[in-house]
Protein backbone atom coordinates (compact mmCIF):
# COMPACT_ATOMS: atom_id res chain seq x y z
CA UNK A 1 0.00 0.00 0.00
CA UNK A 2 0.94 3.56 -0.57
CA UNK A 3 2.50 5.65 2.16
CA UNK A 4 0.51 8.59 3.44
CA UNK A 5 3.24 10.03 5.57
CA UNK A 6 6.94 9.64 5.06
CA UNK A 7 9.35 11.06 7.57
CA UNK A 8 13.09 10.79 7.18
CA UNK A 9 15.64 11.95 9.71
CA UNK A 10 13.37 14.64 11.00
CA UNK A 11 15.07 16.96 13.42
CA UNK A 12 13.92 20.04 15.28
CA UNK A 13 15.85 22.32 17.56
CA UNK A 14 14.55 25.30 19.46
CA UNK A 15 16.58 28.20 20.64
CA UNK A 16 15.41 29.27 24.05
CA UNK A 17 16.93 31.80 26.32
CA UNK A 18 17.50 31.15 29.97
CA UNK A 19 16.96 34.03 32.34
CA UNK A 20 19.60 34.87 34.86
CA UNK A 21 18.49 34.98 38.45
CA UNK A 22 17.93 38.07 40.56
CA UNK A 23 17.56 41.76 39.76
CA UNK A 24 21.13 42.05 38.56
CA UNK A 25 20.59 39.09 36.26
CA UNK A 26 17.40 40.63 34.91
CA UNK A 27 19.32 43.80 34.02
CA UNK A 28 21.98 41.79 32.28
CA UNK A 29 19.27 39.94 30.39
CA UNK A 30 18.19 43.28 28.94
CA UNK A 31 21.43 43.51 27.01
CA UNK A 32 22.72 40.02 26.40
CA UNK A 33 20.92 36.79 26.71
CA UNK A 34 22.07 33.28 27.31
CA UNK A 35 20.75 31.01 24.64
CA UNK A 36 20.25 27.34 24.97
CA UNK A 37 19.64 24.94 22.14
CA UNK A 38 16.96 22.43 22.98
CA UNK A 39 16.38 19.43 20.79
CA UNK A 40 12.68 18.66 20.63
CA UNK A 41 12.71 16.00 17.94
CA UNK A 42 15.85 14.02 17.44
CA UNK A 43 16.40 12.51 14.03
CA UNK A 44 13.30 10.36 13.69
CA UNK A 45 12.05 8.37 10.72
CA UNK A 46 8.79 6.54 10.20
CA UNK A 47 6.05 6.13 7.68
CA UNK A 48 2.31 5.72 7.83
CA UNK A 49 0.29 3.78 5.30
CA UNK A 50 -2.93 4.90 3.72
CA UNK A 51 -5.92 4.01 5.84
CA UNK A 52 -3.84 3.28 8.90
CA UNK A 53 -4.74 4.46 12.38
CA UNK A 54 -1.62 5.24 14.31
CA UNK A 55 -1.11 6.46 17.83
CA UNK A 56 1.74 8.64 18.79
CA UNK A 57 2.49 8.50 22.48
CA UNK A 58 5.03 9.79 24.94
CA UNK A 59 5.36 11.83 28.06
CA UNK A 60 4.67 15.54 28.13
CA UNK A 61 7.47 17.28 26.30
CA UNK A 62 8.58 14.15 24.47
CA UNK A 63 8.16 15.93 21.13
CA UNK A 64 4.78 14.61 19.99
CA UNK A 65 3.14 17.94 19.36
CA UNK A 66 6.28 19.29 17.73
CA UNK A 67 6.24 16.39 15.28
CA UNK A 68 2.57 16.93 14.50
CA UNK A 69 3.22 20.62 13.95
CA UNK A 70 5.97 19.80 11.50
CA UNK A 71 3.81 17.26 9.71
CA UNK A 72 1.01 19.79 9.35
CA UNK A 73 3.33 22.47 8.03
CA UNK A 74 3.10 24.81 10.99
CA UNK A 75 6.70 24.46 12.09
CA UNK A 76 9.71 24.30 9.83
CA UNK A 77 12.03 21.39 10.61
CA UNK A 78 15.67 22.13 11.38
CA UNK A 79 16.67 19.18 9.21
CA UNK A 80 15.15 16.16 7.53
CA UNK A 81 12.51 15.34 4.98
CA UNK A 82 8.78 15.19 5.39
CA UNK A 83 6.35 14.14 2.71
CA UNK A 84 2.69 14.02 3.58
CA UNK A 85 0.08 12.94 1.08
CA UNK A 86 2.53 13.66 -1.70
CA UNK A 87 3.13 17.24 -0.58
CA UNK A 88 5.96 19.03 1.04
CA UNK A 89 4.05 20.63 3.96
CA UNK A 90 6.09 23.83 4.33
CA UNK A 91 6.68 24.54 0.68
CA UNK A 92 3.17 24.03 -0.64
CA UNK A 93 1.30 25.00 2.50
CA UNK A 94 -1.96 26.31 1.07
CA UNK A 95 -2.42 23.39 -1.30
CA UNK A 96 -1.28 20.87 1.27
CA UNK A 97 -3.58 21.93 4.12
CA UNK A 98 -6.59 21.31 1.89
CA UNK A 99 -5.81 17.62 2.12
CA UNK A 100 -5.59 17.38 5.89
CA UNK A 101 -7.82 17.90 8.89
CA UNK A 102 -6.39 18.84 12.25
CA UNK A 103 -7.87 18.89 15.74
CA UNK A 104 -5.89 20.33 18.59
CA UNK A 105 -7.55 19.23 21.79
CA UNK A 106 -6.30 22.22 23.68
CA UNK A 107 -7.06 24.82 21.09
CA UNK A 108 -10.33 25.75 19.49
CA UNK A 109 -10.50 26.33 15.79
CA UNK A 110 -14.07 27.50 15.84
CA UNK A 111 -14.92 31.16 16.17
CA UNK A 112 -15.75 31.80 19.78
CA UNK A 113 -18.52 34.38 19.41
CA UNK A 114 -20.56 33.14 16.51
CA UNK A 115 -22.91 30.21 16.08
CA UNK A 116 -21.43 26.84 15.19
CA UNK A 117 -23.18 26.79 11.82
CA UNK A 118 -21.61 30.13 10.90
CA UNK A 119 -18.18 28.67 11.61
CA UNK A 120 -19.05 25.69 9.44
CA UNK A 121 -20.27 27.97 6.70
CA UNK A 122 -17.07 29.97 6.75
CA UNK A 123 -14.94 26.81 6.67
CA UNK A 124 -17.05 25.49 3.81
CA UNK A 125 -16.18 28.62 1.84
CA UNK A 126 -12.55 28.53 2.91
CA UNK A 127 -12.16 24.93 1.75
CA UNK A 128 -14.34 25.56 -1.30
CA UNK A 129 -16.68 22.68 -0.62
CA UNK A 130 -19.64 22.52 -2.98
CA UNK A 131 -23.17 22.60 -1.58
CA UNK A 132 -23.88 19.08 -2.73
CA UNK A 133 -20.74 17.66 -1.20
CA UNK A 134 -21.42 19.56 2.00
CA UNK A 135 -24.99 18.33 2.33
CA UNK A 136 -23.95 14.77 1.78
CA UNK A 137 -20.82 14.57 3.86
CA UNK A 138 -21.63 17.03 6.63
CA UNK A 139 -25.17 15.71 6.84
CA UNK A 140 -23.69 12.38 7.77
CA UNK A 141 -21.24 13.85 10.27
CA UNK A 142 -23.81 16.09 11.91
CA UNK A 143 -26.12 13.12 12.29
CA UNK A 144 -23.48 10.74 13.63
CA UNK A 145 -22.02 13.20 16.09
CA UNK A 146 -25.46 14.43 17.06
CA UNK A 147 -24.71 18.08 16.39
CA UNK A 148 -28.11 19.21 15.17
CA UNK A 149 -29.18 20.89 18.43
CA UNK A 150 -25.83 22.67 18.78
CA UNK A 151 -25.70 24.34 15.39
CA UNK A 152 -27.31 27.63 16.36
CA UNK A 153 -25.40 28.00 19.64
CA UNK A 154 -22.39 30.29 19.93
CA UNK A 155 -19.28 28.25 20.62
CA UNK A 156 -18.59 29.92 23.94
CA UNK A 157 -21.82 28.48 25.34
CA UNK A 158 -20.95 24.86 24.52
CA UNK A 159 -19.63 22.38 27.05
CA UNK A 160 -16.23 20.86 26.40
CA UNK A 161 -17.70 17.63 25.09
CA UNK A 162 -20.08 19.46 22.76
CA UNK A 163 -17.29 21.72 21.58
CA UNK A 164 -14.98 18.81 20.88
CA UNK A 165 -17.59 17.13 18.70
CA UNK A 166 -17.99 20.37 16.78
CA UNK A 167 -14.22 20.73 16.44
CA UNK A 168 -14.06 17.27 14.96
CA UNK A 169 -16.82 18.09 12.50
CA UNK A 170 -15.06 21.34 11.58
CA UNK A 171 -11.83 19.50 10.85
CA UNK A 172 -13.68 17.13 8.55
CA UNK A 173 -15.67 19.63 6.53
CA UNK A 174 -13.62 19.00 3.40
CA UNK A 175 -13.49 15.24 3.97
CA UNK A 176 -9.69 15.07 4.17
CA UNK A 177 -7.91 11.77 3.53
CA UNK A 178 -5.66 12.43 6.49
CA UNK A 179 -6.66 13.48 9.97
CA UNK A 180 -4.34 14.64 12.74
CA UNK A 181 -5.69 14.57 16.25
CA UNK A 182 -3.60 16.10 18.99
CA UNK A 183 -5.06 14.87 22.26
CA UNK A 184 -8.64 14.82 21.04
CA UNK A 185 -10.12 13.27 24.16
CA UNK A 186 -8.39 15.41 26.75
CA UNK A 187 -10.74 16.33 29.56
CA UNK A 188 -13.76 14.54 28.12
CA UNK A 189 -16.13 12.25 29.97
CA UNK A 190 -16.38 8.56 29.18
CA UNK A 191 -19.52 8.80 27.08
CA UNK A 192 -18.18 11.51 24.80
CA UNK A 193 -14.90 9.63 24.51
CA UNK A 194 -16.73 6.50 23.43
CA UNK A 195 -18.80 8.43 20.94
CA UNK A 196 -15.73 10.07 19.42
CA UNK A 197 -13.87 6.76 19.21
CA UNK A 198 -16.77 5.05 17.53
CA UNK A 199 -17.10 7.91 15.11
CA UNK A 200 -13.41 7.78 14.22
CA UNK A 201 -13.59 4.07 13.57
CA UNK A 202 -16.59 4.52 11.35
CA UNK A 203 -14.89 7.33 9.49
CA UNK A 204 -11.85 5.18 8.90
CA UNK A 205 -13.97 2.38 7.50
CA UNK A 206 -16.26 4.54 5.44
CA UNK A 207 -13.75 6.86 3.81
CA UNK A 208 -10.47 5.08 4.48
CA UNK A 209 -9.26 8.14 6.36
CA UNK A 210 -5.74 7.85 7.68
CA UNK A 211 -5.68 8.93 11.31
CA UNK A 212 -2.70 9.92 13.36
CA UNK A 213 -3.44 10.74 16.96
CA UNK A 214 -1.51 11.66 20.04
CA UNK A 215 -2.97 10.88 23.39
CA UNK A 216 -2.29 10.22 27.02
CA UNK A 217 -5.32 8.03 27.28
CA UNK A 218 -4.24 4.46 26.62
CA UNK A 219 -7.80 3.28 26.21
CA UNK A 220 -8.02 5.52 23.13
CA UNK A 221 -5.22 3.54 21.58
CA UNK A 222 -6.59 0.19 22.62
CA UNK A 223 -9.89 1.07 21.04
CA UNK A 224 -8.57 2.59 17.84
CA UNK A 225 -5.03 1.90 16.81
CA UNK A 226 -3.11 -1.14 15.71
CA UNK A 227 0.11 0.66 15.64
CA UNK A 228 1.90 2.68 18.28
CA UNK A 229 4.91 4.92 17.98
CA UNK A 230 6.37 5.83 21.31
CA UNK A 231 8.56 8.84 21.73
CA UNK A 232 10.92 9.71 24.52
CA UNK A 233 13.11 12.80 24.62
CA UNK A 234 12.60 13.33 20.92
CA UNK A 235 13.55 9.80 19.90
CA UNK A 236 11.40 6.90 18.80
CA UNK A 237 11.75 4.15 21.38
CA UNK A 238 9.06 1.85 20.09
CA UNK A 239 7.31 1.42 16.77
CA UNK A 240 5.02 -1.51 16.32
CA UNK A 241 1.83 -3.20 17.39
CA UNK A 242 0.28 -2.44 20.73
CA UNK A 243 -0.13 -6.16 21.36
CA UNK A 244 3.56 -6.76 20.96
CA UNK A 245 4.37 -3.94 23.30
CA UNK A 246 2.14 -5.62 25.81
CA UNK A 247 3.77 -8.99 25.20
CA UNK A 248 7.22 -7.57 25.51
CA UNK A 249 6.49 -5.77 28.70
CA UNK A 250 3.67 -7.72 30.25
CA UNK A 251 6.03 -10.62 30.91
CA UNK A 252 4.80 -11.25 34.37
CA UNK A 253 1.37 -12.22 35.51
CA UNK A 254 -0.07 -12.02 38.95
CA UNK A 255 -2.62 -14.30 40.57
CA UNK A 256 -4.30 -13.43 43.81
CA UNK A 257 -5.55 -16.21 46.09
CA UNK A 258 -7.75 -15.95 49.12
CA UNK A 259 -7.35 -19.04 51.27
CA UNK A 260 -9.85 -20.37 53.75
CA UNK A 261 -7.24 -21.16 56.39
CA UNK A 262 -4.14 -19.37 57.49
CA UNK A 263 -1.15 -20.15 55.29
CA UNK A 264 2.55 -19.55 55.92
CA UNK A 265 4.92 -18.08 53.38
CA UNK A 266 7.20 -21.10 53.69
CA UNK A 267 4.45 -23.56 52.78
CA UNK A 268 3.71 -21.69 49.61
CA UNK A 269 7.32 -21.28 48.55
CA UNK A 270 8.09 -24.93 49.13
CA UNK A 271 4.98 -25.96 47.26
CA UNK A 272 6.36 -24.73 43.94
CA UNK A 273 10.04 -24.45 44.60
CA UNK A 274 10.98 -22.18 41.76
CA UNK A 275 12.84 -18.91 42.06
CA UNK A 276 10.88 -17.06 39.37
CA UNK A 277 7.66 -17.57 41.28
CA UNK A 278 7.32 -15.13 44.13
CA UNK A 279 4.71 -15.02 46.85
CA UNK A 280 3.65 -11.87 48.61
CA UNK A 281 1.19 -11.35 51.46
CA UNK A 282 -1.51 -8.86 50.53
CA UNK A 283 -3.81 -6.79 52.64
CA UNK A 284 -6.88 -8.62 53.87
CA UNK A 285 -7.45 -11.94 55.53
CA UNK A 286 -5.38 -14.84 54.12
CA UNK A 287 -4.81 -13.10 50.82
CA UNK A 288 -1.61 -13.90 48.93
CA UNK A 289 -0.44 -12.78 45.53
CA UNK A 290 1.92 -14.77 43.39
CA UNK A 291 3.83 -13.23 40.53
CA UNK A 292 5.00 -15.65 37.89
CA UNK A 293 6.19 -15.82 34.28
CA UNK A 294 3.42 -15.36 31.76
CA UNK A 295 3.25 -18.77 30.11
CA UNK A 296 0.38 -21.18 30.14
CA UNK A 297 2.05 -24.30 31.56
CA UNK A 298 3.50 -22.51 34.56
CA UNK A 299 0.19 -20.83 35.27
CA UNK A 300 -1.87 -24.02 35.20
CA UNK A 301 0.80 -25.92 37.11
CA UNK A 302 0.79 -23.43 39.91
CA UNK A 303 -2.96 -23.13 40.11
CA UNK A 304 -3.27 -26.92 40.23
CA UNK A 305 -0.68 -27.32 42.98
CA UNK A 306 -2.06 -24.53 45.13
CA UNK A 307 -5.65 -25.66 44.89
CA UNK A 308 -4.73 -29.26 45.74
CA UNK A 309 -3.01 -28.47 48.99
CA UNK A 310 -4.80 -25.37 50.26
CA UNK A 311 -8.55 -24.82 50.10
CA UNK A 312 -9.22 -21.63 48.16
CA UNK A 313 -12.10 -19.22 48.73
CA UNK A 314 -11.44 -16.86 45.87
CA UNK A 315 -8.99 -16.46 43.03
CA UNK A 316 -8.22 -13.53 40.71
CA UNK A 317 -5.98 -13.19 37.69
CA UNK A 318 -4.36 -9.79 37.64
CA UNK A 319 -3.32 -8.77 34.19
CA UNK A 320 -0.96 -5.84 33.92
CA UNK A 321 -2.81 -3.08 32.12
CA UNK A 322 -1.37 -1.29 29.14
CA UNK A 323 -1.32 1.82 31.21
CA UNK A 324 0.96 0.17 33.73
CA UNK A 325 3.21 -1.10 30.99
CA UNK A 326 3.54 2.33 29.56
CA UNK A 327 4.15 3.82 32.96
CA UNK A 328 6.91 1.30 33.46
CA UNK A 329 8.47 2.21 30.15
CA UNK A 330 8.36 5.91 30.94
CA UNK A 331 9.95 5.29 34.30
CA UNK A 332 12.59 2.79 33.36
CA UNK A 333 13.24 3.57 29.75
CA UNK A 334 13.06 1.11 26.90
CA UNK A 335 16.61 -0.15 27.29
CA UNK A 336 15.80 -2.04 30.47
CA UNK A 337 13.15 -4.01 28.67
Amino acid sequence: MENMIEVQNLHKEFKTFSSRSGVKGAFRDLFTRNYKIKTAVNNISFSVKKGEMMAYIGENGAGKSTTIKMLTGILTPTAGNVKVNGFHPQKEREKFVRSIGVVFGQRSQLWWDIAVQESFRLLKKVYQVSDKQYEEHMGYIIKTLDLEPLLDQPVRKLSLGQRMRCELAAALIHNPPLLFLDEPTIGLDVLVKLKIREFLKELNQRYGTTILLTTHDISDIEALCDRVVMLDEGKIIYDGKLEELKGQWGEEKEIQFQFIKNVEQQDLTELVGRTDVKWKKDEGENIWTVSLPNDETTISMIIAKVVQSHPVKDMKMLEISTEEIIRNIYQEGMSNG
Binding site: K69, V97, R121
Partner: protein, 263 residues
Protein backbone atom coordinates in the same frame (compact mmCIF):
# COMPACT_ATOMS: atom_id res chain seq x y z
CA UNK B 1 -12.08 35.34 -3.46
CA UNK B 2 -15.28 33.85 -2.06
CA UNK B 3 -13.57 32.83 1.13
CA UNK B 4 -12.32 36.34 1.83
CA UNK B 5 -15.80 37.78 1.29
CA UNK B 6 -17.06 35.21 3.76
CA UNK B 7 -14.44 36.36 6.26
CA UNK B 8 -15.69 39.94 5.91
CA UNK B 9 -19.23 38.70 6.50
CA UNK B 10 -18.23 36.76 9.61
CA UNK B 11 -16.48 39.77 11.11
CA UNK B 12 -19.61 41.77 10.43
CA UNK B 13 -21.57 39.18 12.40
CA UNK B 14 -19.07 39.30 15.23
CA UNK B 15 -19.40 43.06 15.47
CA UNK B 16 -23.15 42.60 15.76
CA UNK B 17 -22.56 40.05 18.52
CA UNK B 18 -21.03 42.80 20.59
CA UNK B 19 -23.60 45.54 20.33
CA UNK B 20 -22.68 47.20 23.63
CA UNK B 21 -19.23 47.99 22.29
CA UNK B 22 -20.92 49.61 19.35
CA UNK B 23 -23.12 51.90 21.46
CA UNK B 24 -20.31 52.96 23.79
CA UNK B 25 -18.19 53.62 20.72
CA UNK B 26 -20.69 56.16 19.44
CA UNK B 27 -20.69 57.96 22.80
CA UNK B 28 -16.89 58.04 22.97
CA UNK B 29 -16.55 59.40 19.46
CA UNK B 30 -19.17 62.09 20.06
CA UNK B 31 -17.38 63.19 23.23
CA UNK B 32 -14.06 63.32 21.41
CA UNK B 33 -15.44 65.34 18.53
CA UNK B 34 -17.23 67.66 20.97
CA UNK B 35 -14.09 68.21 23.01
CA UNK B 36 -12.02 69.09 19.94
CA UNK B 37 -14.78 71.27 18.59
CA UNK B 38 -14.82 73.47 21.69
CA UNK B 39 -11.04 73.38 22.00
CA UNK B 40 -10.59 74.72 18.48
CA UNK B 41 -13.35 77.30 19.01
CA UNK B 42 -11.43 78.57 22.03
CA UNK B 43 -8.11 78.60 20.17
CA UNK B 44 -9.57 80.52 17.26
CA UNK B 45 -11.37 82.98 19.54
CA UNK B 46 -12.21 86.00 17.39
CA UNK B 47 -9.67 85.15 14.67
CA UNK B 48 -11.25 84.32 11.34
CA UNK B 49 -8.55 81.91 10.23
CA UNK B 50 -5.25 80.42 11.36
CA UNK B 51 -2.70 79.25 8.76
CA UNK B 52 -5.33 79.88 6.12
CA UNK B 53 -7.81 77.49 7.70
CA UNK B 54 -11.15 78.91 8.85
CA UNK B 55 -12.79 77.80 12.06
CA UNK B 56 -15.60 76.00 10.19
CA UNK B 57 -13.07 74.19 8.02
CA UNK B 58 -11.24 73.26 11.17
CA UNK B 59 -14.24 71.83 12.98
CA UNK B 60 -15.31 70.01 9.82
CA UNK B 61 -11.80 68.63 9.60
CA UNK B 62 -11.92 67.36 13.18
CA UNK B 63 -15.36 65.80 12.78
CA UNK B 64 -14.52 64.08 9.52
CA UNK B 65 -11.13 62.94 10.81
CA UNK B 66 -12.82 61.09 13.65
CA UNK B 67 -15.47 59.64 11.42
CA UNK B 68 -12.85 58.44 8.98
CA UNK B 69 -10.97 56.96 11.91
CA UNK B 70 -13.96 54.73 12.59
CA UNK B 71 -13.38 53.22 9.19
CA UNK B 72 -9.61 52.82 9.09
CA UNK B 73 -9.10 52.02 12.75
CA UNK B 74 -8.81 48.40 13.77
CA UNK B 75 -7.21 46.28 16.44
CA UNK B 76 -5.32 43.98 14.11
CA UNK B 77 -2.02 44.75 15.86
CA UNK B 78 -3.41 43.57 19.16
CA UNK B 79 -5.19 40.60 17.61
CA UNK B 80 -2.13 39.40 15.73
CA UNK B 81 0.08 39.84 18.79
CA UNK B 82 -2.40 37.89 20.89
CA UNK B 83 -2.71 35.10 18.37
CA UNK B 84 1.04 34.81 18.28
CA UNK B 85 1.43 34.93 22.05
CA UNK B 86 -1.27 32.38 22.71
CA UNK B 87 -0.11 30.15 19.89
CA UNK B 88 -3.32 30.54 17.89
CA UNK B 89 -1.34 31.22 14.72
CA UNK B 90 -0.91 27.47 14.57
CA UNK B 91 -4.62 27.11 13.83
CA UNK B 92 -4.45 29.86 11.23
CA UNK B 93 -1.59 28.12 9.47
CA UNK B 94 -3.50 24.89 8.94
CA UNK B 95 -6.13 26.68 6.91
CA UNK B 96 -5.87 27.10 3.18
CA UNK B 97 -5.73 30.85 3.20
CA UNK B 98 -3.19 33.57 3.51
CA UNK B 99 -3.08 34.56 7.15
CA UNK B 100 -2.22 38.21 6.61
CA UNK B 101 -4.76 38.69 3.85
CA UNK B 102 -7.36 37.11 6.12
CA UNK B 103 -6.45 39.59 8.82
CA UNK B 104 -6.81 42.48 6.38
CA UNK B 105 -10.24 41.19 5.40
CA UNK B 106 -11.28 40.95 9.03
CA UNK B 107 -10.17 44.55 9.49
CA UNK B 108 -12.13 45.51 6.40
CA UNK B 109 -15.23 43.75 7.73
CA UNK B 110 -14.89 45.74 10.91
CA UNK B 111 -14.29 48.94 8.97
CA UNK B 112 -17.31 48.49 6.71
CA UNK B 113 -19.50 47.75 9.70
CA UNK B 114 -18.38 50.91 11.46
CA UNK B 115 -18.66 52.94 8.30
CA UNK B 116 -22.33 52.14 7.81
CA UNK B 117 -23.56 51.83 11.37
CA UNK B 118 -21.31 54.36 12.98
CA UNK B 119 -19.67 56.90 10.71
CA UNK B 120 -22.67 57.75 8.57
CA UNK B 121 -25.31 58.08 11.32
CA UNK B 122 -22.72 59.66 13.61
CA UNK B 123 -21.72 62.20 11.01
CA UNK B 124 -25.31 63.20 10.34
CA UNK B 125 -25.86 63.83 14.06
CA UNK B 126 -22.58 65.70 14.44
CA UNK B 127 -23.25 67.79 11.33
CA UNK B 128 -26.50 69.00 12.87
CA UNK B 129 -25.11 69.70 16.34
CA UNK B 130 -21.90 71.44 15.37
CA UNK B 131 -22.97 73.21 12.15
CA UNK B 132 -20.28 71.81 9.91
CA UNK B 133 -19.60 72.93 6.41
CA UNK B 134 -20.38 69.81 4.45
CA UNK B 135 -19.58 69.77 0.78
CA UNK B 136 -22.19 68.37 -1.56
CA UNK B 137 -19.70 67.98 -4.34
CA UNK B 138 -19.82 64.37 -5.52
CA UNK B 139 -16.19 64.46 -6.71
CA UNK B 140 -15.09 65.48 -3.23
CA UNK B 141 -16.99 62.58 -1.74
CA UNK B 142 -15.59 60.18 -4.29
CA UNK B 143 -12.02 61.35 -3.74
CA UNK B 144 -12.53 61.21 0.01
CA UNK B 145 -13.72 57.59 -0.22
CA UNK B 146 -10.75 56.68 -2.39
CA UNK B 147 -8.32 58.37 0.00
CA UNK B 148 -10.05 56.59 2.91
CA UNK B 149 -9.44 53.21 1.32
CA UNK B 150 -5.74 54.02 0.99
CA UNK B 151 -5.69 55.28 4.56
CA UNK B 152 -7.23 52.00 5.66
CA UNK B 153 -4.53 50.15 3.77
CA UNK B 154 -1.66 52.15 5.29
CA UNK B 155 -3.01 51.95 8.82
CA UNK B 156 -3.68 48.22 8.49
CA UNK B 157 -0.20 47.59 7.14
CA UNK B 158 1.33 49.46 10.07
CA UNK B 159 -0.85 47.45 12.45
CA UNK B 160 0.26 44.20 10.87
CA UNK B 161 3.90 45.23 11.18
CA UNK B 162 3.52 46.07 14.86
CA UNK B 163 1.51 42.92 15.48
CA UNK B 164 4.07 40.69 13.80
CA UNK B 165 6.74 42.12 16.10
CA UNK B 166 5.30 39.74 18.70
CA UNK B 167 7.12 36.96 16.88
CA UNK B 168 10.42 38.49 17.88
CA UNK B 169 9.61 40.40 21.05
CA UNK B 170 7.12 37.96 22.59
CA UNK B 171 5.52 40.79 24.52
CA UNK B 172 4.99 43.86 22.43
CA UNK B 173 2.06 45.52 24.18
CA UNK B 174 4.13 48.60 25.01
CA UNK B 175 5.16 48.83 21.41
CA UNK B 176 1.53 48.66 20.31
CA UNK B 177 0.51 51.40 22.73
CA UNK B 178 3.31 53.65 21.53
CA UNK B 179 2.35 53.05 17.91
CA UNK B 180 -1.24 54.03 18.63
CA UNK B 181 -0.26 57.37 20.18
CA UNK B 182 2.20 58.06 17.37
CA UNK B 183 -0.42 57.40 14.72
CA UNK B 184 -3.06 59.57 16.41
CA UNK B 185 -0.58 62.44 16.66
CA UNK B 186 1.44 62.19 13.45
CA UNK B 187 -1.45 61.25 11.20
CA UNK B 188 -2.99 64.64 11.84
CA UNK B 189 -5.96 63.34 13.81
CA UNK B 190 -5.38 65.59 16.82
CA UNK B 191 -3.73 68.52 15.02
CA UNK B 192 -3.58 69.06 11.25
CA UNK B 193 -0.07 68.61 9.89
CA UNK B 194 0.00 72.24 8.71
CA UNK B 195 0.02 73.30 12.35
CA UNK B 196 3.25 71.42 13.02
CA UNK B 197 6.56 73.34 13.06
CA UNK B 198 8.14 73.55 9.60
CA UNK B 199 10.96 71.10 10.40
CA UNK B 200 8.44 68.57 11.69
CA UNK B 201 6.36 69.01 8.55
CA UNK B 202 9.49 68.29 6.53
CA UNK B 203 10.12 65.10 8.49
CA UNK B 204 6.50 64.05 8.04
CA UNK B 205 6.93 64.19 4.29
CA UNK B 206 9.10 61.10 4.55
CA UNK B 207 6.78 59.17 6.86
CA UNK B 208 3.54 57.39 5.98
CA UNK B 209 1.43 58.78 8.84
CA UNK B 210 -0.24 61.74 7.12
CA UNK B 211 -1.67 59.31 4.58
CA UNK B 212 -3.82 57.88 7.35
CA UNK B 213 -5.85 60.83 8.56
CA UNK B 214 -4.60 64.17 7.30
CA UNK B 215 -4.96 63.54 3.58
CA UNK B 216 -8.52 62.14 3.47
CA UNK B 217 -9.78 64.69 6.01
CA UNK B 218 -8.18 67.58 4.14
CA UNK B 219 -9.71 66.34 0.91
CA UNK B 220 -13.12 66.28 2.53
CA UNK B 221 -12.70 69.74 4.06
CA UNK B 222 -11.56 70.87 0.58
CA UNK B 223 -8.27 72.03 2.03
CA UNK B 224 -6.21 70.36 -0.72
CA UNK B 225 -7.11 70.81 -4.35
CA UNK B 226 -5.71 70.39 -7.82
CA UNK B 227 -2.14 69.22 -8.19
CA UNK B 228 -1.46 68.87 -4.49
CA UNK B 229 -4.52 66.61 -4.28
CA UNK B 230 -3.09 64.32 -6.93
CA UNK B 231 0.26 64.35 -5.17
CA UNK B 232 -1.44 63.50 -1.90
CA UNK B 233 -3.16 60.45 -3.41
CA UNK B 234 0.09 59.42 -5.05
CA UNK B 235 1.82 59.75 -1.69
CA UNK B 236 -0.68 57.27 -0.25
CA UNK B 237 -0.32 54.77 -3.08
CA UNK B 238 3.47 54.83 -2.85
CA UNK B 239 3.33 54.08 0.86
CA UNK B 240 0.85 51.26 0.40
CA UNK B 241 3.30 49.63 -2.01
CA UNK B 242 6.39 50.39 0.06
CA UNK B 243 4.94 48.93 3.25
CA UNK B 244 4.35 45.60 1.55
CA UNK B 245 8.09 45.03 1.51
CA UNK B 246 8.87 44.90 5.25
CA UNK B 247 5.68 42.92 5.87
CA UNK B 248 6.65 40.24 3.36
CA UNK B 249 10.18 40.02 4.76
CA UNK B 250 9.09 39.84 8.39
CA UNK B 251 6.32 37.34 7.70
CA UNK B 252 8.71 35.10 5.82
CA UNK B 253 11.26 35.25 8.63
CA UNK B 254 8.61 34.80 11.30
CA UNK B 255 7.25 31.63 9.71
CA UNK B 256 10.74 30.17 9.66
CA UNK B 257 11.45 30.69 13.28
CA UNK B 258 7.92 30.25 14.54
CA UNK B 259 7.70 28.84 18.02
CA UNK B 260 4.21 27.81 18.95
CA UNK B 261 3.80 28.86 22.51
CA UNK B 262 1.88 26.79 24.98
CA UNK B 263 2.51 23.32 23.56
Amino acid sequence: MGKYLEIIRIRFLMMLAYRTNYYTGIVIYTINIGAYFFLWKAIYGSQGSIQGVTVTQMTTYVAIAWMARAFYFNNLDREIAEEIREGKVAIELIRPYNYLLTKVMQGLGEGIFRFFFFSIPGFIIVAFIFQLKVSFNLTTWGLFLLASIFSFAINTQLNILTGLMAFFLHDNMGFIQAKRVIIDLFSGLTIPITFFPIWAQDVMKYLPFQGISYIPSMIFAEGIKGDSLLNALLFQVVWVILLCIPITVIWYKAKKQLVVQGG
